[in-house]
Structures are given as structure tokens and as C-alpha cells.
């Protein structure tokens, strides 16, 4: 089984040279720490920076330089800064090659819910609806089950949707799954996790074909 860092490391393997990448808050943010050797990617943060760098050294924090998670960050050489309309032009205009975000639920047709639990928690969608409506390549990073042990990979989302039929791939603590017209297709197992465990933790349609390899982290 993977921890959050493991999920981030596995998704980092999907990065390709020259890509512009938008990372959501939480697990996705960690991906920036594991860029494969020899490739160059630029991170976009929707509050208005392209070429976002690591956290600043202690004492160098700048209140005027944050990411979409409101964390202090740095700008890499070659970075650019812009207003929110330009930022979402990049997103809506499909200039970003990969979007990684977290989710509360994903359905086996690629629907995603991650912004609201009616009557209990309403944080808002932020930029997530714009991102999932436009991006070609969306990976969800999340735990396979919620805190009560219930599956987060469902036939249908029970929570209000963020976007419809948009997620392409899900990486969880248990597995890598592609979204296909026939449901979740199991691609890889996390180290030490059996196909049966993944089946038991997945409520949505799950396709298991042949031998499922274990992830290499």
C-alpha cells in the first residue's frame, strides 16, 4: 500500500518533458518534489504564476508570492506572473498538458466530485470546475477509500459534481486505474496489494484483464 508520498511519486512518472502542469492542493502538490531525472516541466498555479518553484528558504518568504494553496513559494528563472483571466485562458484554452487534483469521489465514467458535502462542508470549487471542464489529461490523486472505509471509486458520485466524464486516470494508495467506456480498468497494483483487495475497495465497475503488475516506485 502507498502513502500520500507514494501516490505522488507514482504520478510523477507520468510527467513528460516540456509539459505544463497544474497541480491541485494536497497530494498533487507533492508531485513537484519527484520530477523524473532528465525532464523539464513547468508548474502552473491558477492564482497567476507559471514556473513555480519550491518553498522559499526560511526568512525569504514573500507575502506577494503564493500558490493556489496560499502557501509561500518561489519563482523559477523563466517564470512569469499574470492575472486570473490570463491564468484561466491557459487552462480553458487547453495550453496545460496535465492536471492533477484530489477528489472526494470519482465515478467509473470519469465524473468527479470534490467541492461540496451538502449541509456539512462547503469550501467551493475554486478553479477545479474550470480545470476539469477543459483539460484533456486529468489524473485524480486520492485515497481509495474514505475515513469510514467506504469506496471513493463509485458507479455514480453521490456528492454534487465538479465535472462530468472528465477524469482519465486515478492513482490511489492501492492502484493505478484508467477510466474506460466500460469502467475503471486496473493497470497496476500498489506494492503488496492484491487484486482482490482492490476489487473489495472499488464500488464502481472494475475491469481486471490478465496479470496486473505491481507498481515500481
Amino acid at each position: 500500500m502507498l502513502d500520500k508520498t507514494g501516490i505522488a511519486k507514482r504520478i510523477a512518472q507520468e510527467l513528460q518533458d516540456g509539459w505544463y502542469v497544474n497541480l491541485g492542493i494536497g497530494i498533487p502538490t507533492l508531485i513537484a518534489n519527484y520530477i523524473p531525472q532528465g525532464i523539464s516541466v513547468e508548474f502552473q498555479s491558477e492564482n497567476g504564476i507559471l514556473g513555480m518553484g519550491p518553498f522559499p528558504f526560511e526568512g525569504d518568504e514573500d507575502a506577494d508570492l503564493i500558490n493556489a494553496g496560499k502557501q509561500t513559494v518561489t519563482a523559477m528563472p523563466g517564470a512569469s506572473i499574470f492575472d486570473s483571466a490570463t491564468s484561466f485562458a491557459m487552462i480553458r484554452g487547453q495550453h496545460i498538458q496535465l492536471t492533477v487534483l484530489g477528489a472526494m469521489e470519482v465515478a467509473d465514467n470519469g465524473d468527479i466530485a470534490n467541492w461540496k458535502i451538502p449541509g456539512r462542508m462547503v469550501k467551493g470549487m475554486g478553479g477545479a470546475m474550470d480545470l476539469v471542464a477543459s483539460a484533456d489529461n486529468i489524473i485524480v490523486a486520492m485515497m481509495h477509500t474514505n475515513k469510514r472505509g467506504a469506496s471513493k471509486l463509485l458507479k455514480r458520485c453521490s456528492l454534487p459534481l465538479t465535472g462530468v466524464a472528465c477524469v482519465k486516470k486515478v492513482v490511489t494508495n492501492l492502484a493505478v486505474l484508467d477510466i474506460t467506456p466500460n469502467g475503471f480498468k486496473l493497470i497496476e497494483r500498489a506494492p503488496g496489494v492484491s487484486v482482490e483487495e482492490i476489487q473489495n475497495a472499488t464500488e464502481g465497475r472494475l475491469i481486471v484483464e490478465g496479470d496486473i503488475p505491481e507498481m515500481k516506485i
Binding site: N47, G48, A85, R92, A133, V164
Partner: protein, 232 residues
């Protein structure tokens, strides 16, 4: 052409109970601190506030929420504010949550004379309820309308008496778009410079969008999530 006013109190004088305001900023970054404090002091109520976020409990728009001066918020993300969540879930506060990109585009549209536009964001979700859907290139889009305000309040790093503005870092965010969208726009700046000091090639917001400008005082510029790495 001199748009200078003395301070925040003078700048907000025209803001009356029940008005709609736009306030620049993302999180606590690039928020008009001086005008928010002046509004708290003035006690203006029943405000509709359009702002990407709603501050934190004891800073930014959270200060106006604490005093119950806000009737309705139009935002994209409102986490990190317990008092906001409490008022919203109890029904004391009306809240309209809209996708962040649509918020930016709706402000820009208003300031650009574009009454409405189609966007894919929110299709198939609660956000699309009651909105016209139209297909372009085989893909569904929803109709979103321009968003305007009686007053827009923005914060820049530098500005001059003509209203030209220059922003620093990610404090730019919604500020240039809201500056365009306000019927009246107030700009507060950290440094008011002489005309000509700002290079015309690097001005982010041309002065035509600004009606009042002043140099703010005592900027706290609070950091919401201080994240650092150790020096090694």
C-alpha cells in the same frame, strides 16, 4: 488628471448600505486592507461582496463577516473561514459559489463591454442549473453573464495620480479584472509615485479604469500558509 484622495475613509465615502462591491485578492494576497478596515469602521451593511475568497476569521473580508456587514458573498473558494461556513450553513449569509475562471472572465467581460459568454466550466453541475447550454465543436458550454459592481476596490504595489497601476507577484490575481468591472474603482497602493516614474511599457492597469487612488498605510500583508524549506 488627479485622482488622488487622502485616505481609505475618503475613498469609500460613496459606498452606501446595500451596495455591491468587488474586492481584489486571492486568499489574503493582494487584498485592499486599508479599505476593508475603513468599511468596518464605517459600519456599512447589507453589502454584496464579490471576491475570490472570503478572508480568514480575523483578517481580510473575515473582518466584515464578523460584524455581519455582508449580506451576500459571491466567491469561488471559501475554506479557511469558520465564521463564514457557520453563517452560510445556518442561512444567515447568502452565498453564490462560482468557478474561479468564470469569476475572472465575468469581471473582465463586464469591464470590456461583453455582456455574456459561453464556457465549458460547470457544465453538468449545480453551477449550470437554469443556464443556457449550447454546443460548440461538439462540446457543451454554459452561458455566463458579465459581473459588475457599484464599487471595485483593488490593491496594487505602485500607482500614480492618473490611476496607472503596477502589481507585485501573485498579488495581481483578480485586481486588474475587477478594476475594469467596477462602476467606480478605488485603488489603494503601497507606494504612490510621481507620473512618469512608472514605465508605460510595464503598467498592468491603465489609469482609465481607476477613479480614486491613495497610498495606504500599515500594510500587514499577512501570510496564510507560511511554507519554507530549511537552509542547508
Amino acid at each position: 488628471m488627479d485622482k488622488r484622495v487622502k485616505n481609505a475613509n475618503e475613498a469609500i465615502k460613496g459606498i452606501k448600505d446595500g451596495m455591491t462591491l468587488m474586492l481584489g485578492g486571492f486568499g489574503l494576497c493582494g487584498i485592499p486592507e486599508n479599505c476593508i478596515s475603513a468599511l468596518v469602521e464605517a459600519g456599512t451593511t447589507n453589502l454584496t461582496c464579490i471576491s475570490n475568497n472570503a478572508g480568514v476569521d480575523d483578517f481580510g473580508l473575515g473582518l466584515l463577516l464578523q460584524k455581519r456587514q455582508i449580506k451576500k458573498m459571491i466567491s469561488s473558494y471559501v475554506g479557511e473561514n469558520d465564521e463564514f461556513e457557520r453563517q452560510m450553513l445556518s442561512g444567515e449569509l447568502e452565498v453564490d459559489l462560482i468557478p474561479q475562471g468564470s469569476l475572472a472572465a465575468r469581471c473582465q467581460a463586464a469591464g470590456s463591454g461583453v455582456p455574456a459568454f459561453y464556457t465549458p466550466a460547470g457544465y453538468g453541475t449545480e453551477v449550470a442549473e437554469g443556464k443556457e447550454v449550447r454546443y460548440f465543436n461538439g462540446k457543451p458550454h454554459i452561458l455566463e453573464h458579465a459581473l459588475t459592481a457599484d464599487f471595485a476596490i483593488v490593491k496594487a504595489w505602485k500607482g500614480d495620480r492618473y490611476g496607472n497601476l503596477f502589481f507585485k507577484g501573485t498579488a495581481r490575481n483578480f485586481n486588474p479584472l475587477m478594476a475594469m468591472a467596477g462602476k467606480i474603482t478605488i485603488a489603494e497602493v503601497e507606494e504612490l509615485v510621481e507620473p512618469g516614474e512608472l514605465d508605460p511599457n510595464t503598467i498592468h492597469t491603465p489609469g482609465i479604469f481607476i477613479q480614486h487612488i491613495f497610498q495606504g498605510v500599515n500594510y500587514e500583508k499577512r501570510i496564510e500558509q507560511r511554507t519554507v524549506r530549511p537552509r542547508t
